[in-house]
């Protein structure tokens, strides 16, 4: 599926509980803006951004899926065909990460082929000491802040890289 006129195209999904910052991360990445107001996502919104990895142009088609504590409730067709996903938690709210190992396990079963990254978002709300003391059930791949932009581009680029690398090794 993933060829377009311009290059490679990949579907990725952002998942996690409500208000962890999924929409804000996408907005920061796609439009460089941080929405000031919290407007909960319902259902699904799709955005798109092209990234350059060396000679390669990769289009990320990003499915922003409404926050859901119980991944089983996400419509399976939202997830089908995803090449990768980012599971986002809010570092400042334990309720968003206390069950993350179980939630990720369920998502793995729903998207067995998709590559995963875990984002610990809202890093800006915690001091270095608080960050060090946090004991998350799954260690995030990136600590991000949609507010300051820290690690946001890096995370999406890294996922794009993993997906392209995956193509190269499975080809």
């Amino acid at each position: 599926m993933d060829s377009t006129k311009q290059g490679i195209s990949k579907k990725i999904a952002l998942l996690g509980s409500h208000a962890v910052g999924k929409t804000s991360l996408i907005s920061r990445f796609v439009t460089r803006e941080f929405p000031n107001e919290y407007l909960t996502t319902i259902g699904l919104r799709v955005d798109q951004k092209t990234v350059q990895l060396g000679d390669l142009t990769v289009e990320l088609i990003i499915w922003d899926i409404a926050g859901q504590d119980d991944p089983v409730r996400i419509p399976q067709y939202y997830l089908n065909g995803a090449h990768g996903y980012i599971f986002v938690v809010d570092l400042s709210r334990e309720s968003t990460w206390s069950q993350m190992d179980h939630q990720i396990q369920v998502l793995e079963a729903m998207m067995p082929k998709a590559k995963r990254l875990v984002a610990g978002n809202k890093k800006d709300l915690l001091s270095d000491k608080e960050l060090q003391e946090l004991k998350l059930p799954v260690t995030p791949d990136f600590l991000t802040s949609a507010f300051t932009g820290e690690n946001v581009d890096e995370m999406f680029h890294h996922l794009a890289q993993i997906l392209v690398h995956d193509d190269a090794t499975t080809a």
Partner: protein
């Protein structure tokens, strides 16, 4: 005074089928496209979709572009359900339910049913927003108390 019994069926010019089509016209649109994305037909009841004519929908709509694989493998009886999509249908921003299935008479074509559910989902969004804000407030309060 007009008596209830004088309301005879024959007074109505429309059959029930026509009436149903008339009512649904304002809330749904059917778009037919080839598996390579080329739009073949549309009933235009929600939007004229002029900018999509004679083009591959995959070039214009990233959501569909990311589903190409699903369309090329869609089963005979399968209905791909993508509910509650925050979507701009030719300048009409709203919430739509999408379903995709094979054309009953030509399996090379995909039938895309677009149902405009904006009114319902806006109401739901307002409730969900309130619920989420309340949950956040409660969590922050509890954290404040335990800190």
């Amino acid at each position: 005074m007009r008596c209830f019994t004088t309301w005879r069926k024959s007074w109505f010019m429309m059959t029930l089928q026509q009436l149903k089509a008339h009512v649904l016209d304002h809330s749904a649109q059917v778009i037919v496209f080839q598996k390579d994305g080329l739009m073949v037909d549309s009933c235009h009841t929600l939007s004229g979709v002029k900018s999509w004519e004679n083009k591959s929908l995959y070039d214009s709509i990233s959501l569909l572009r990311s589903m190409q694989f699903a369309f090329s493998h869609i089963g005979n009886e399968e209905v791909i359900d993508i509910p509650c999509v925050d979507f701009v249908l030719e300048q009409r921003q709203g919430y739509y339910d999408f379903t995709f299935s094979l054309h009953p008479e030509n399996p090379d074509l995909v039938v895309w049913l677009v149902k405009d559910q904006t009114r319902v989902y806006r109401y739901y969004a307002a409730i969900q927003q309130e619920r989420n804000l309340l949950r956040l407030e409660k969590e922050y309060k509890e954290r404040g108390q335990s800190a």
